[in-house]
Amino acid sequence: MKDKTFTSKLTLENVSHSYGNVAVLKDLNLIVNPGEIVVLVGPSGCGKTTILNLLSGHINPVSGTIQREGIIRTVYQHDGLFPWLTVSENISMGLRGTESAEKELLELVELIRLEGFENHYPHELSGGMRQRVELARVHAGDSDILLMDEPFSALDYQTRLRMRNELIRLLEQRPRTVVFVTHDIEEAAQLADRVLVLSNRPATICRELNIKAQKPRGLTDPAVIAAMEEILNELGLNITDKTNSL
């Protein structure tokens, strides 16, 4: 397993992209360091998912260069699991051709606490359980880079809070490079090593924020609150002046 020394490289250099006449990204530069969690936040429709599609190679940019090294896998908002495969079989997709696949499968199932559900099909699981299976699947085998496209946003609030801890726990056991897209500022503040706040279309990075605090971070951790405040300010959403709020 390369869970200790893994290599990954992911850079965007002067990347611009547009759909027809609509410019979505403009001169975007981004270097994702191995092992870090980069969270992209920004207004909806600003091109967050486009950035992920560029990083995964699903689409090619209109201009600029993208470099990527390592095995990249994506977690989607929902329905990313194959419904005709059981929990075990879905996770095993990432273990094909790996030695000791069986042992690793057991470990992963244990890690996401789904013992006893190995032979269940996705439609027999709750939304949170399904996303946990997705997390286990992308961590399986020798993946290097995980792209996460609002993976928890279809879940209810409490499940979402739990899933953030779950992700941190998984990454402690099996470090990966993560690019995480979300519109949830709390999520960004709790998970990120680095938050990138994106501007409106055409998106550029208008703020970069390093959060050094130890993980897992509680929702009311001062570092998380401080980070949220900064992000909210940057997005112009920190409305505290009661007289002007109407």
Binding site: S56, H58, T74, Y76, G80, F82, W84, G94, H123
Partner: protein
């Protein structure tokens, strides 16, 4: 709850008894002449006669055999063709008009050709079954493939599924629930067509049995064949519906 379960079980039986009773009363009061409307008793008698003569069993086997061969042939060709067309836009664009044309052509229109090309026997009937089921099967499979959510293919790419593995591990299981439904529907068509096919191109089979009964003005025997055709059709559909209970396809019926 108990009451409604018993009800659900009893109601269909009551309806069947009602139908039989209506049949009995119509023939009892001679609303139609007996030769044109056989009584239940007469049909029971002819059942006995056909079974003892061994004709019924022979006809059942002949029909089942033809439907099975024609149906399997069209599944073996139609499903792969559908898979291929579903994956390639140019294939859909080029073949769909022709396939649609043939789909709307009643298979019975092929009867003259079937007999000229294949003479009398199993072959023309098998040909007609094939013509009746091939086009709907291919088209249904194609539509199912073309509407697979793109997310499955993106996931498949992340996990390095390519070529034949992509086809067998992703594309095919993704459409299997719909393919099973298409198989059931086209089996229904096949079973309807076999009766007509055997009326003209065969010397045995359930359809031929009805034709012979008509020629001999033995409508009691025709009714007994009709009952067998209906029951067999239902029975085989029941068997096919067991396919929908396979664990790997349940997801397709539980949305």
């Amino acid at each position: 709850m108990m009451k409604s379960r018993a009800f659900r079980f009893l109601l269909p039986i009551l309806v069947i008894i009602g139908v039989l009773l209506t049949w009995f009363l119509i023939s009892y009061f001679n609303l139609f002449p007996a030769y044109a409307f056989p009584s239940p008793q007469a049909v029971m008698m002819s059942f006995r006669e056909e079974i003892l003569a061994g004709r019924l069993m022979n006809d059942i086997i002949a029909s089942l055999w033809r439907v099975a061969i024609g149906f399997v042939l069209s599944a073996l060709l139609g499903i792969p063709l559908g898979l291929w067309m579903g994956q390639h836009l140019f294939a859909r664009k080029s073949f769909v008009p022709v396939l649609n044309f043939f789909r709307f052509l009643s298979p019975l229109a092929w009867i003259p050709f079937a007999i000229l090309w294949f003479h009398i026997g199993d072959k023309p009937a098998i040909f007609l079954i094939f013509m009746a089921t091939f086009f709907p099967l291919a088209l249904a499979t194609m539509v199912a493939v073309a509407s697979i959510p793109s997310i499955y293919f993106r996931v498949a790419r992340d996990y390095n599924y390519k070529g034949i593995e992509l086809l067998t591990k992703v594309t095919f299981p993704a459409v299997l629930p719909q393919v099973i439904t298409a198989l059931r529907v086209s089996y229904g068509i096949a079973w309807v067509v076999i009766v007509a096919a055997e009326m003209v191109g065969c010397q045995d089979g359930l359809g031929y049995g009805i034709w012979e009964a008509r020629n001999g003005l033995r409508l009691d025997s025709a009714v007994c064949y009709m009952i067998v055709i209906g029951l067999l059709g239902m029975g085989i559909d029941r068997l096919l519906s067991q396919l929908t209970k396979l664990p790997g396809v349940r997801w397709g019926y539980e949305r």
